[in-house]
Symmetry: C2
Subunit: 222 residues, 2 copies
């Protein structure tokens, strides 16, 4: 098991983030490494979903995880128990990662021998959506307790994501959450969004999500 | 019932936000209007908690609500059903409000005849914590499904708040949420934080929160 390294990342120096993001993607393409940017609100179950994802894919793919957080190393320590390479990025108060910051993390984790690197972005539905990190695909988690109206209130993140994981479906009976409505609202923002209802705690539905992810990685590797 | 007005607020022109915030507070003091800044993650139940709060206090206090959101008027429409004065502030993609933006909202709602104005900030635990809005007190909501580790991961918001509402206690049996730990972690960040466990849906515990708020308003009015 790797020990958890904490990297204090610095504010980016690149004026043109989109260009820098394209450069990061090009480099990853050369290394046949797929970068997934995983976004969500605080407490939607990013780390638990990630642990399930690692469990399902770690025999087939070499995986690394970059946990971004304002403070603490709680998440990276959890991820390290799965045995995959894991580092913690401290953003020093910043609410998102951009391509330059992601690149600092990639330099530390060393993507050369990895098929899949997951960037767990800062818990926030607003700012992370505004910055291309250089990821090949963006995914987000919305958990049942947050409510089905979120695509109406935080439109951009639903627009920029390729996959939407709807987590905590085990508590559907206790919340006024309308699955048909959330699918309708999310597709209003982004008709191509792939939607995966799951329960990360029990593992229900996780296979469809991990199959999709594995296919994306293999397609990228060519 | 007032109809919902939507105000497109502009980025602030003030270089020194703290000074501008103090000016906003001074003006409110002169009008004997108390401004509460309410913050939380998306989906923690800000609007439902606010509706309970209005229900409990509207016979004693003249209340107004400013709903800040990236997009949509979902929340202001709900609040308008309570009969209090309510406006929707659109931040145009911005992830927080500062004092200058709050002032634009105050000009529109007209605080002169109001005892209490509640600013429902953008759903986000990171950015809103960094800007003094000119509010007399800051409160935040953390809901049970978000997890008890949030004070470790989002320290600043717990530091700048005067009150922490822990919402959705009705679903405690279905989540691994440790109430003792969240109190311990939150007080580690801010020993003076007042903590109110509630269920906004059923009304459980709401009276302690509204008593505290009423006392704060009365103290401010002198």
């Amino acid at each position: 098991m790797d020990t958890v390294r904490i990297i204090e990342i610095k504010e980016s120096v690149f004026a043109d983030n989109d260009r820098e993001a394209d450069r990061v993607r090009q480099e990853l393409k050369g290394k046949k490494t797929f970068l997934l940017n995983l976004m969500s609100s605080p407490g939607s179950g990013k780390t638990t979903t990630l642990m399930r994802t690692i469990e399902a894919l770690k025999d087939e793919l070499a995986i690394g995880v970059m946990e971004a957080d304002i403070d603490s190393a709680v998440d990276a320590e959890k991820i390290a128990t799965t045995g995959v390479r894991s580092i913690q990025l401290h953003t020093g108060g910043m609410c998102h990662l951009d391509a330059g910051m992601t690149e600092q993390g990639l330099r530390e984790i060393g993507p050369e021998d990895l098929d899949l690197v997951v960037l767990e972005n800062v818990g926030n539905l607003v700012c992370p959506a505004e910055f291309d990190t250089g990821a090949v695909k963006n995914a987000m988690i919305l958990s049942v307790p947050e409510g089905h109206d979120k695509p109406l209130k935080y439109p951009l993140i639903f627009t920029v994501c390729d996959a939407l994981i709807i987590n905590k479906i085990d508590v559907l009976p206790y919340f006024d959450f309308d699955m048909d409505k959330v699918v309708e609202y999310a597709h209003m923002r982004n008709p191509k969004l792939e939607i995966f209802p799951i329960c990360a705690k029990t593992g229900e539905g996780v296979d469809k999500w991990t199959d999709w992810l594995k296919n994306q990685v293999r397609a990228w590797q060519g």
